[in-house]
Amino acid sequence: MQIQVKCSCGAEKCPEWAIIELQGVVEVQPSFQHSLQNLQIGLLCRPSSQENYTFTVGYHELTGYKVALKKPMVVLKKIKYMDVERQIDEATSSSSCVELDVVGFIRHKILFKTRPTTLISGPQPTVKEKINAEGA
C-alpha cells in the first residue's frame, strides 16, 4: 500500500504555523468546558525588542522565549476518501483511500519552561494554568 504525501497548497505557498509550548496543563472552568470556541486562554506579550515573551493565563504569569526548532516540522492532514474508481482495482484491498496533505510547516516555537509567577490582582479566571508536577 502506498500513501502519497501531497502538498495541495504548493511548496512555495505552504504557510508557516506556530507553536506555544508550556510545561503545564491549561484548565478550563467546568462551566465553560463545552463552549471553548473563541474563549481566551491568555495574553501573550513581547515586552522589549528581545525575543522574550510573557504569557498571562488566569492569575499566572509565565516567561519564555522564541526559539528555532532544532529540526523543522511539517503539519500533515490525513484525508480519507472513498475512491469509486479504485474499488475496481484489485491492488488495493479496501475501497477507502488515505492521503496525507502537508498543510503547513513549523520552524519556531514560543517556549515557556519556568515556574509561573502568581499575579495578586486580576479578575476570576475562566481559564487557569496548572503547574505540572514535574514542572521546572
Binding site: M1, Q2, I3, Q4, V5, K6, C7, A11, C14, P15, E16, W17, A18, I19, I20, E21, L22, Q23, G24, V25, V26, L36, Q37, N38, L39, Q40, I41, G42, L43, L44, C45, R46, P47, S48, S49, Y53, F55, K66, L69, K71, P72, M73, V74, V75, L76, K77, K78, I79, K80, A91, L100, V102, V103, G104, F105, I106, H108, K109, I110, N132
Partner: protein, 385 residues
C-alpha cells in the same frame, strides 16, 4: 505576502511577527478540537523540500509499521509523545472542512487561535530497506524451463512490488539487481538456478564450438544462436547480465565479457548443491567444469562456501551470503547457528554487506557478538552474545 490587511492581526503570522511592546490574545480556535487527523512530523532540513515538493510516500501493508520513502532512502516513522502542552496555531486563513462561521470580523484585538493541543510528534529514523520480503515473494514462482505449465500463483509487476516492499524506488531497483531478477512480460521474476545453469552451459558449449572468446562475446551472435536453440531472447540477455558485463570500450556496442568470479561461483554452487564434499574431490570437479579461458582461484568463493576441518580431512560446503536475511540480528543469529565460533577472516565476507545507517561494522560486532582471544598470539574469535 499578506493580501488582506486584517489577516496580519491574526493567526500564526501575528504571533511569529509580534512586535516589541505588543501583545496578542491567545484563544481557542472556533474549530478547536482533538483533530486526530492533524499530525506533526519532525524531519531533517534536507528532507523538507522532498516533502513539500511531493517526492515522498508512505509505504507498508496495514499490519506493518509504516515507512516513509524518498526516491532513494527509507525511514521508519515513530511517534514521540510529550508531557508538555503544545498549542498548535495555524495561519489566519486556516479553516477545517467547515465553512466561514468562525470568522470574527469584529475583532479589534490581535488574536492567535489554537486549533489543537498536540500530544507529540512523529519522528523519522533512517533504516535499511526491508528487502527480505522481496526475495521471498519473488521466490514463490521461480521462472523455470517449463514455465508454461508452472506459471501460477502471484506474479508481481513493479507497481505491485512498490505496494508490498518497504523500500524506496532506488533501493528496490538495487534489490532486484542483487537478486538477479529479470522483468519478463512486465513481471519481475527470479530465474531458477538450474535453468540458469542450462543456459550458461549452452553458452559455453557454443563458445567452444564457434570459437568465441569469453572476453569478447558478440551479443547479436550469442543471442541468435541460443534463440535458435530454443531459449527465450530475454533470458539470453539475462544470462549475459548475470554472468558478465558489457565491454564499454567496444566500438559497435553489444560486446560482453564473462566475469570469472561469477562463473566460478556458479559452478561451485552447483557441485555443492547436493551436500558437502571433501576438498580434493570438490577442487577436481570444479576445475574440470570451468572453461579453459577462465582462471579460477579459491578466494573467489568467499561468502559462498565454508571450509571445515573434520579430523584430518578438509571439507567444503555451500553457505551463500545471498541466502541470509539482511537484518543484522537475524544474520548473526543464523551465522552462529551454522558455526559457534568464527575467526574474522571467515566471518567478514558474511557480514560485509550488512547495512545499518549509522552503525559501522565495528559497532555491529560490538552489538551482536562476543569477542574472545584464547591467547595473545591466537586469532580473536567471535561468538554469540
Amino acid at each position: 505576502m499578506m493580501e488582506q490587511p486584517h489577516s496580519c492581526c491574526k493567526g500564526a503570522e501575528m504571533l511569529l511577527n509580534l512586535q516589541p511592546t505588543s501583545s496578542v490574545s491567545i484563544q481557542y480556535h472556533p474549530f478547536f478540537g482533538p483533530h486526530d487527523d492533524l499530525v506533526l512530523l519532525e524531519l531533517d532540513e534536507k528532507l523538507l523540500s522532498d516533502v513539500l515538493y511531493q517526492r515522498v510516500t508512505l509505504r507498508g501493508q496495514p499490519d506493518e509499521d509504516a515507512v516513509l520513502c524518498t526516491k532513494s532512502k527509507t525511514y521508519s516513522v515513530k511517534f514521540v509523545g510529550t508531557s508538555n502542552s503544545v498549542f498548535l496555531i495555524p495561519p489566519a486563513d486556516y479553516s477545517t472542512s467547515h465553512e466561514s462561521g468562525g470568522e470574527n470580523y469584529n475583532q479589534q484585538v490581535p488574536t492567535a487561535s489554537v486549533i489543537k493541543v498536540a500530544p507529540g510528534n512523529m519522528e523519522l529514523v533512517e533504516v535499511a530497506p526491508r528487502l527480505d520480503k522481496l526475495k521471498s515473494i519473488l521466490s514463490e514462482n521461480l521462472y523455470s524451463s517449463d514455465e508454461a505449465s508452472t506459471a501460477m500463483g502471484d506474479l508481481y509487476k513493479w507497481d505491485d512490488l512498490i505496494n508490498k516492499v518497504q523500500a524506496s524506488d532506488d533501493e528496490l531497483k538495487a534489490g532486484l539487481q542483487a537478486l538477479s531478477a529479470v522483468e519478463i512480460d512486465g513481471y519481475w521474476r527470479i530465474v531458477d538456478e538450474k535453468y540458469m545453469d542450462v543456459i550458461l552451459r549452452m553458452l559455453l558449449h557454443n563458445s567452444v564450438l564457434n570459437d568465441w572468446s569469453l572476453d569478447s562475446l558478440v551479443e547479436d551472435k550469442v543471442v541468435s544462436v541460443l534463440e535458435s536453440d530454443g531459449f527465450p531472447r530475454k533470458l539470453v540477455y539475462h544470462c549475459l547480465n548475470v554472468y558478465g558485463s558489457r565491454v564499454e570500450e567496444a566500438m559497435d556496442g553489444g560486446v560482453w565479457r564473462l566475469d570469472a568470479r561469477r562463473v566460478c561461483v556458479h559452478f561451485a554452487r552447483g557441485i555443492l548443491r547436493e551436500g558437502k564434499r571433501k576438498m580434493e574431490s570438490f577442487m577436481e570437479e570444479w576445475l574440470r567444469m570451468i572453461p579453459e579461458e577462465i582462471q579460477p582461484s579459491f578466494d573467489m568463493l568467499e561468502g559462498e562456501v565454508l571450509t571445515e576441518k573434520l579430523g584430518v580431512e578438509t571439507w567444503v560446503r555451500a553457505l551463500s551470503v545471498s541466502s541470509f536475511p539482511t537484518t543484522p540480528a537475524d544474520r548473526f543469529s543464523i551465522l552462529f547457528k551454522e558455526r559457534a565460533k568464527w575467526e574474522w577472516k571467515d566471518l567478514e565476507p558474511y557480514i560485509r554487506d550488512l547495512n545499518v545507517p549509522g552503525l559501522s561494522s565495528e559497532a555491529l560486532l560490538l552489538k551482536y557478538t562476543r569477542r574472545s582471544q584464547p591467547s595473545i598470539d591466537a586469532e580473536p574469535v567471535f561468538s554469540a552474545r
